[in-house]
């Protein structure tokens, strides 16, 4: 691969065009324009800094939340720079337009996109630096660059060698060359398992998460919020909370009352004394039953927006031999990251410094700007390691709260949410209801598939928070808020929100008449991105319904899918891999008296192809999952051990969704509070998991999310095989 890195083309390759400011940033040299400043160093670009004392610093612009991006992206640099990944010092990059995620236009870590979007840019960055070091060495030895060998972090010529540090002074003044990236057969590090860079610190207890990142002197804050999200404080009484030990201050913020104390436990104890009267939002009139009724009415009364309309489903249904119809549904879900939301803030009249476990540092900056009343240039966001993201930390409500508390109190504070705060104040995975209709012809083949769902769109909520990042900084705050508030109108009435239909609208099944429609219905519980987003339920809807059609046609569920995907080599490959490795049609006996049954599912998301075979048995009317066999086609792996871990972790996340996850609403209040009533899968419920990666040297695709969508349908399909009962709502329970 030949990549010409003129500055302009480099920026284009890095996806940084169109951001204006990015063009003014040089690829090499000029420290004054670099987002990072240190003396004597060579800032090769926004990511790499080489120092005269031979240190290599990589400014990591994505958040490490467990997905392995710190190791993966550093490995891309290490490969082309010819150094060991663990010799590179990883620093967090801070917020800068150079670091924007090209898929989204903002600096977020999400969408299983970090490896895919950095695959070419970061290798190019490192290869460019390597070639400049080669030229610098050639200059020192007065030989041709081709005579210089770059290996193991040094430049070599005959018996001589220079460290990179010794070449920094010369390299930084050289022109930027064209580079040729390594081909897969030349990879030394990419594609090989290695110890993750963050493993030792996470094993020794020295890794610093957001909750561990409060600067010295920060007091601790706990907030009491309205039981119904969106409520505001009407009046409040400290009721003796001031006199509790350790309490320093109590302040009202827009959505609650904050108690500030020396220890967080003291703040939490004192907060129990507060009495608060609330102005409750409209959502307080909703409960589970009325919400479901609202969804069904929306489906009945609205034609919705068209997301796909292949062929003519209406006439296909009229001509059909057999028509099958079903309603499917899923509940709201919380993310339940192990590290509760938290944020530290030190605010004074002209500067606001924030330490936040966030997936969107530039959105956090916008939230801090809005809450503090300062200008963007006066905000500093320090991104920390995060104890689980799964999409929750794309929303910055916890940052906004913390800045409000710092502003109202005039104190440096660390806000920590309790687990109850976290479960009850999420941006939830939307609940959704779908109507599916399919038809079979005389040969038992699928003629038509019609999908129509109702759910709240996520984009209005995202738009509200993120619009300030993409709008020009000079716009007055009121204008930014006004634009942000357009979200519900824009995405509710005008545009289709792709995230509501993904997994259905882009389904790879080869069906001639295929229509997908979506009705926006939002009772008012805020929603957000939850690992695999719309795929998390559309995978369940489509893959369960395809199974229904397979059974109606009396064909084998695996063969039925193969036939519907016959022109897609990658889908076929993952399907046949799980059928082969998981012994489709021959469930293992196990050592229990209850027979085992199998279910299969396949799904395409985040540009990856995943198939999964589940083996279950039924004990006393409850489901026991014994074994999961999974296959993924995700292009070139950077670190196959991390890919397997992501798939295995995604499967366990999917098992929690399939067997346990449910948020219930009564009078607008989320009823679940902690892990006893919002249960997550524990070790005693984890089945044997086998992950097969299809070898490939295609460009890498996502692995953080794509395992989730196939889990629930594979288990539901196995339950049908075992019991003849088709479970069409999550979580899957046989007693209901």
């Amino acid at each position: 691969m030949n990549t010409t890195t003129s500055r302009r083309n480099f920026l284009k390759a890095a996806g940084l065009t169109g951001t204006g400011l990015a063009f003014s940033l040089p690829l090499s040299g000029c420290a004054s324009n670099s987002p990072h400043h240190s003396h004597n160093s060579w800032h090769a670009n926004a990511w790499l800094e080489l120092t005269p004392d031979n240190r290599i610093l990589f400014y990591l612009h994505r958040t490490e939340m467990g997905q392995g991006t710190m190791t993966g992206l550093t490995t891309l640099i290490a490969e082309e720079l010819e150094v060991e990944a663990h010799h590179i010092e990883v620093k967090t990059s801070g917020v800068h337009t150079d670091y924007v995620n090209p898929l989204y236009g903002i600096q977020i870590t999400g969408g299983s996109s970090s490896t895919a979007t950095n695959w070419i840019p970061l290798r190019t960055v490192a290869a460019t630096a390597r070639e400049m070091l080669r030229k610098a060495a050639a200059k020192r030895w007065n030989v041709k660059p081709e005579a210089v060998l770059i290996r193991s972090g040094k430049a070599h010529y005959q018996k001589y060698s220079f460290t990179y540090g010794e070449l920094v002074d010369i390299a930084k003044d050289l022109s930027v060359p064209s580079v040729t990236l390594k081909t897969p057969d030349q990879f030394q590090k990419i594609g090989k398992p290695s110890i993750r860079l963050d493993t030792p610190m996470k094993t020794k207890g020295t890794a610093r998460f957001g909750i561990d990142s409060a600067p010295k002197g920060c007091l601790k804050a706990s907030v009491v919020r309205c039981p119904v999200i969106g409520g505001t404080v009407k009046s409040w009484d400290a009721n003796g909370a001031f006199d509790m030990p350790g309490v320093k201050k109590i302040v009202a913020i827009p959505n609650g009352v904050a108690v500030i104390a020396i220890s967080w436990w003291q703040a939490k104890e004192a907060a129990k004394k507060l009495t608060i009267e609330w102005d409750k939002p409209k959502f307080s009139k909703f409960s589970d039953a009325s919400i479901l009724e609202g969804y069904r009415n929306a489906l009945k009364n609205n034609s919705g927006k068209t997301a796909r309309d292949d062929g003519n489903t209406d006439s296909a249904f009229e001509a059909a031999q057999q028509v099958i119809e079903a309603e499917y549904r899923v509940p709201y879900l919380a993310h339940a990251t192990m590290e509760p939301m938290n944020c530290s803030v030190v605010l004074n009249s002209d500067h606001c410094e924030v330490w936040a476990p966030t997936q969107g540092p530039d959105i956090a900056a916008a939230a801090a700007e809005h809450a503090s009343g300062l200008r963007r240039s006066q905000i500093t966001i320090n991104t920390t390691l995060i104890g689980g993201g799964f999409g929750r930390r794309l929303n910055q409500d916890f940052v906004e709260e913390a800045v409000h508390i710092a502003k109202e109190s005039g104190l440096p504070i660390q806000l920590i949410w309790s687990r109850e705060d976290d479960i009850k104040n999420d941006f939830y995975r939307p609940a959704a209801v779908a109507q599916l209709k399919g038809s079979l012809n005389a040969q038992g083949q699928v003629d038509a598939l019609y999908y129509k769902s109702a759910s709240p769109n996520i984009m209005p909520y995202t738009f509200k928070e993120a619009s300030a990042v993409v709008l020009p900084a000079w716009l007055p705050d009121g204008m930014v808020k006004a634009v942000g508030s357009l979200g519900p109108t824009v995405y509710g009435d005008l545009l289709l929100d792709e995230t509501s239909v993904e997994g259905a609208s882009d389904s790879l099944y080869e069906i001639e008449n295929f229509a997908v429609r979506h009705v926006q219905y939002d009772p008012g519980l805020r929603v957000g991105f939850w690992r695999s987003v719309g795929h998390s339920y559309n995978g369940f809807f489509i893959e369960s319904f395809i199974d229904e059609l397979a059974h109606a046609s009396t064909r084998d569920a695996y063969q039925f899918r193969l036939e519907l995907l016959k022109n897609n080599a990658k889908m076929t490959q993952v399907l046949s891999t799980v059928a082969d490795k998981g012994h489709w049609g021959k469930p293992s006996q196990g050592n229990t008296p209850n027979p085992r049954f199998q279910g299969i599912a396949v799904h395409h998301s985040f540009k990856s192809y995943v198939a999964l075979l589940a083996e279950i048995s039924i004990h006393n009317n409850s489901v026991k999952v014994h074994k999961i066999t999974c296959a993924v086609h995700c292009g070139q792996t950077i670190n196959p051990d991390i890919v397997k871990a992501q798939m295995s972790g995604g499967i366990i996340f999917g098992l929690t969704q399939a067997l346990k996850g449910k948020i219930s609403i009564k009078d607008g209040e989320v009823q679940e509070t902690n892990f006893h009533n919002y249960e997550l899968l524990r070790m005693n419920e984890v089945p044997e998991i086998e992950v097969h990666i299809i070898p490939s040297s295609d460009a890498p695709t996502g692995v953080g999310e794509p395992a989730v969508p196939v889990v629930a349908p594979a288990i539901a399909n196995a339950i049908f095989a075992a019991t003849g009962k088709r479970l069409r709502s999550l979580p899957l329970t046989l007693n209901s």
Binding site: E64, M65, G66, G68, M70, E84, H86, I88, E89, V90, T92, I195, R196, L197, D198, T199, P200, M201, K202, T203, K204, G205, T206, A207, R208, F209, I211, D212, K220, P245, S263, W264, W265, Q266, T337, M338, E339, P340, T384, L385, G387, G388, R419, A645, S648, G649, G650, I651, I652, F653, N674, F675, H676, L680, L681, R682, M683, N684, V686, I689
Partner: protein, 176 residues
């Protein structure tokens, strides 16, 4: 004043006897390896050893530690940087952590198990570890790492688990 031993050092703290040990460790002593996850003893992120027994520090009043020995993740390894506990070595070799937040608690539960049972069966591991939640789903690697650590404890010489590069040159501004 409540006096107890923390990671081998005698300590007196001026705290409400009802204050959970977790917050004494985090907010007063300012050792931050022990994590807050649920505050109800449901997730195990706060697990420490009290006289060698794994306990949930988020629901254990500091008064219960009086005169006893408390060990946190920071006290598990030996005195040098490379002197990890066999459980930590097995964790590193197996690349167990993802986000890593629950891992100090997982490691404290695992090391307490191995202290009284050096060759645990799968069922023993399940029993000892089911109080610790991992949202990332690292359970299969946790199980494998415990088996590996048990093997190492049975015959330390035969299983060399330190052949992997540890933190030798690696630095990050995300570690303290």
């Amino acid at each position: 004043m409540i006096t107890f031993s923390l990671n081998g050092n005698d300590l007196s703290v001026d705290a409400d006897p009802a204050m959970p040990l977790l917050w004494v460790i985090r907010d007063i002593v300012q050792l931050q390896g022990t994590k807050f996850g649920c505050g109800q003893g449901l997730c195990g992120a706060c697990t420490v050893h009290l006289d060698g027994i794994a306990i949930r520090s988020c629901i254990t009043p500091v008064s219960e530690a009086k005169g006893k020995q408390v060990t946190t993740i920071e006290g598990l390894q030996g005195n040098t940087e490379t002197d990890e506990h066999p459980v930590q070595q097995a964790w590193i070799k197996n690349n167990v952590p993802q986000c890593g937040y629950c891992q100090p608690g997982q490691i404290m539960s695992a090391s307490a198990l191995l202290a009284k049972n050096t060759s645990p069966t799968d069922d023993d591991i399940t029993q000892a570890m089911s109080g610790n939640i991992c949202r990332c789903g690292t359970y299969p690697k946790i199980r494998q790492a415990i088996h590996d650590a048990a093997k190492h404890l049975a015959s330390p010489a035969s299983s060399n688990v330190s052949t992997v590069p540890l933190t030798a040159n690696f630095q990050s501004d995300l570690s303290s």
